[in-house]
């Protein structure tokens, strides 16, 4: 089992450019989560899919951020017109069903740096 795979591991963009981050959940897991990690804010929830359907996007900034899960094997987080304050580590996690006490397994993250 390869665990949750995230690509790229590091991404550097210029202010105003677009960034697309990829996540491949653990095979057989139906729930996929996105979190953002910064030194100041710690770990913050962004959005969550179950069986590819968006369930909760309460943590997503209303502008410039979007997430999709076109099939059960990958999810993308897209940030349009990136700003320096978007610099963070973006973590993807998956769990068996997103219910009850199901543990969330995290990927290594994508470190986004916006210059």
């Amino acid at each position: 089992n390869a665990g949750v795979i995230q690509t790229p591991r590091h991404k550097v963009t210029g202010k105003g450019q677009e960034a697309t981050l990829w996540c491949e959940p653990i095979s057989g897991h139906s729930a996929v989560f996105w979190y953002r990690q910064t030194i100041v804010q710690g770990l913050e929830f962004l959005t969550y899919f179950r069986n590819q359907a968006p369930i909760d996007d309460s943590g997503m900034p209303k502008e410039r951020f979007s997430a999709q899960m076109p099939n059960q094997s990958h999810s993308t987080l897209k940030i349009q017109s990136t700003q320096p304050q978007d610099s963070a580590v973006y973590l993807c996690a998956s769990s068996l069903d997103g219910q009850g006490g199901a543990e969330q397994f995290f990927g290594p993250g994508t470190r986004l740096t916006v210059l």
Binding site: F33, Y35, L43, F45, D56, L91, Q99, Q104
Partner: protein, 113 residues
């Protein structure tokens, strides 16, 4: 909404001595699950402990924690810290209304020789 508070951002302890990382929470939900995640340098967060049973001690890798709903706490403890315990520790809560985790601010534990 839910909130989780870790009062110490940095904790330094000498190897072999006990360590306690504090975690308190606020939630309006009755059914909740608690987790302690540990993140080593340049690695992904991973579950260290989890619990949803009031007043039951949970143990793993020498660490232990007990969920106390009466005091809204889930403190992490270890009787003898090891150098390899140096890492970032997060306390997290999930309520029964959804699947997302609400994390505390994290505590960076440094164990010195």
């Amino acid at each position: 909404g839910d909130s989780v508070t870790q009062t110490e951002g940095l904790v330094t302890v000498t190897e072999g001595l006990p360590v306690k990382l504090n975690c308190t929470y606020q939630t309006t939900y009755l059914t909740i699950a608690f987790f302690w995640y540990v993140q080593y340098l340049n690695e992904a967060p991973q579950v260290l402990l989890k619990s949803s049973t009031d007043n039951k001690r949970t143990e793993h890798q020498g660490f232990h924690a007990t969920l106390h709903k009466s005091s809204s706490s889930f403190h992490l403890q270890k009787s003898s810290a090891q150098l390899s315990d140096s890492a970032l520790y997060y306390c997290a809560l999930r309520n029964n209304a959804g699947a997302k985790l609400t994390f505390g601010g994290g505590t960076r534990l440094t164990v010195r020789p």
